[in-house]
């Protein structure tokens, strides 16, 4: 067993740490306050190759391995969760489906500008009536004379409406399977397609500078070739995409937990009460010890899940464990971080109140904690 990271993995992690520290963290408070999408930072990240980390160089990606991508996410997420989720949703949900299931033509046309960071892409699975029950899709796509006619609605879609967004890949019902269940197919919809309506961004309690919107489709027409993979393979595709995405969300959660810990340790050493730093009180020390331990365990679990994936082994259970444990670790860390800051932690001037608001989405997106427990249970 070897726990050491390769030279490239360390370099990628260290560079992202430095970049997050110097370029992202100083702007996090403002991003949260204004909710403005961080175009400038995303542009810098595109230039560094951070938006195409795990994709091959022939498409303009960096050709890094999956763990490197997760290490990068942890560090970017440590700087700011909104920037982190923008990178994650773009890479794991937007670009990965093209990489895994696209034809050569689709990879050249869609994956290349995404891997190069020239465009962002979104993935539309969730609907008003289909959340955890993601197979409950009601959006329909009908093929008539070589054209898909799409009708329906999606909600909570990340990166759906930025100026850089190229489009969305959606799940749609395209028929009935032999077993009587819905046949689901993934359809590619470029942003400027008539009948594709991008709604206004939601007002959110966290991840405020990330772009999240409802989408609707009113007889939205795209050519037959805009199908991703074979017709009817959509369900299988998004299950795999989400499973991979869970490892990425785990990494992002570890980054957030680490940020909570960083702030807490610093504050506990500075804050004096009863004529001594509060870090000298055992009650505070134990909180910090628990945080440090859980963060280390969550990190190891996402490393392990990524490793199984990179070995070509099954990793569904491990991905759910990593996502569940890391997001709940981050929640406990955020909660204790505010507690360690006392009343100051409740105020906007300190970053921990923002961490506390951000962390909730980690327990919901890409499968709620309840869904993760179900998946783990199913594999026992």
């Amino acid at each position: 067993m070897d726990f050491s990271l390769s030279a490239e993995q360390q370099m990628i992690r260290n560079l992202c740490r430095e970049f997050a520290e110097e370029e992202i963290k100083p702007r996090a408070e403002e991003m949260d306050r204004t909710g403005a999408f961080p175009y400038e930072i995303i542009k810098q990240m595109a230039d560094l190759g951070l938006l195409g980390l795990p994709f091959p160089e022939e498409y303009g990606g960096a050709g890094a391995d999956f763990l490197s991508y997760c290490l990068a996410l942890e560090e970017i997420g440590r700087g700011d969760a909104s920037v982190g989720i923008t990178m994650e949703a773009h890479t794991s949900l937007g670009a990965t489906p093209f990489y895994l299931y696209g034809t050569t033509e689709q990879k050249e046309r869609y994956l290349a500008p995404l891997a190069q960071g020239k465009q962002l892409w979104s993935f539309g699975l969730t609907e008003p009536g289909a959340g955890s029950d993601s197979g409950g899709t009601e959006t329909r796509a009908e093929l008539r004379d070589g054209v898909w006619h799409v009708n329906g609605a999606k909600n909570f879609i990340t990166n759906a409406g930025t100026d850089m967004t190229g489009g969305v890949t959606i799940t749609a019902v395209t028929g009935v399977r032999d077993d009587g269940r819905k046949e689901i197919t993934n359809i590619i919809i470029p942003k400027d397609t008539p009948g594709y309506i991008i709604g206004n961004p939601y007002h959110k309690m966290g991840w405020r500078a990330s772009d999240t919107r409802p989408l609707s489709f009113e007889d939205c027409q795209v050519p037959e070739e805009n199908v991703l993979g074979a017709q009817g393979t959509g369900f299988h595709q998004f299950m795999h995409i989400l499973t991979l995405g869970r490892i990425a969300i785990a990494a992002l959660s570890v980054g957030l937990a680490q940020a909570c810990y960083d702030e807490s340790l610093k504050y506990a050493r500075e804050r004096q009460q009863f004529n001594r730093p509060i870090a000298t009180f055992q009650a505070i020390q134990f909180k910090l010890a628990d945080m440090a331990m859980e963060i280390e365990l969550a990190r190891l679990m996402y490393y392990k899940a990524a490793w199984h994936h990179m070995q070509g082994e099954p990793f569904t259970k491990e991905a759910s464990m990593a996502k569940l444990y890391a997001s709940e670790t981050a929640k406990r860390a955020a909660d204790q971080a505010v507690q360690i800051h006392g009343g100051y932690g409740f105020m906007d001037e300190y970053p921990v109140s923002r961490y506390w608001r951000n962390v909730k989405a980690h327990e919901i997106g890409e499968g709620t904690s309840e869904v993760q427990r179900q998946i783990i249970a199913k594999h026992l």
């Binding site: 490239e8 370099m11 190759g49 050709g63 890094a64």
Partner: protein, 259 residues
């Protein structure tokens, strides 16, 4: 143009420092980074390469065998190849030994333009560039805050008390740069992935035709006698109460020529 950047491996500025019994800095692989001052030299080398198409950039480092990782960090920013000079006999080298070795390596690999940082963040001697120039018998343009290459000539600006000096030298020349010369780039992800594929040669003293007795601890004329932590304790004066405190603050500000 054949550009060579001389870069040292130093411990990261935030790393805990400790010393061996004979006062040598203990170097831990995990703390190693390219000397922060050399980042400006690396960046300048890459910019000169961009401005002078057809140029190559070589990262040259004298250091422990593990310094290959540090050279690869520089190669992640850009450049074509790395050269590491490493030999057990080099341990304990002083500035003159280092310069002797770098000069021999430069002679072996060839150069038109050699760029240095103006000092290393660990020892802070700042004499290596001039000593290398002396060994090579080539001009040194030191403390450059701007560098231009035109034809066979290098021209620099050097900050002076009033304005700046413009100094030029024929190539091949050596240049040491100061921080204001540029803003070093972040290595890109592609750069990081490409860095491991770039050629990296390792030379021993024998490869350079140097006698071990002329370098390293054996030949060091400089000896570190002791090291002490810089005390960062600030002494503040606290005036309590209203009684005369304002007057004393004003007096202090006048004394400091603030008012």
């Amino acid at each position: 143009m054949n550009i060579v950047v001389c870069m040292k491996e130093t411990p990261s500025t935030t790393a805990e420092k400790s010393f061996t019994a004979d006062m040598r800095l203990e170097r831990r692989k995990e703390d190693a980074i390219p000397n922060p001052f050399d980042e400006y030299a690396i960046e300048e080398g890459l910019r000169q390469q961009e401005k002078n198409p057809g140029s190559t950039v070589t990262m040259l480092c004298m250091g422990p065998a593990t310094a290959t990782d540090t050279i690869r960090k520089a190669l992640a920013m850009g450049g074509d190849r790395g050269v590491l000079v490493t030999d057990p006999a080099l341990a304990g080298s002083d500035a003159i030994s280092t310069a002797r070795v770098l000069a021999a390596a430069l002679t072996k690999i060839g150069y038109d333009l050699v760029i240095f940082g103006n000092a290393a963040a660990d020892a802070y001697g700042g004499v290596v560039p001039s000593a290398v120039a002396e060994f090579l018998g080539k001009p040194l343009l030191s403390y450059a805050s701007q560098l231009g290459i035109a034809g066979d000539k290098a021209t620099i600006q050097r900050q002076a008390e009033i304005g700046y000096n413009v100094v030029e030298a024929p190539l091949p020349a050596l240049v040491s740069v100061v921080k204001s010369i540029n803003e070093p780039r972040y290595p890109s992800m592609k750069g990081i992935m490409a860095s491991k594929k770039k050629p990296l040669d390792t030379f021993s003293l024998a490869d350079l035709g140097l006698d071990a007795a002329t370098v390293g601890g054996a030949a060091a004329r400089e000896k570190a006698l002791g090291a002490e932590k810089v005390s960062t304790q600030r002494k503040g004066e606290i005036y309590v109460g209203n009684d005369g405190a304002a007057d004393r603050v004003v007096a202090f500000l006048v004394e400091q020529k603030v008012l």
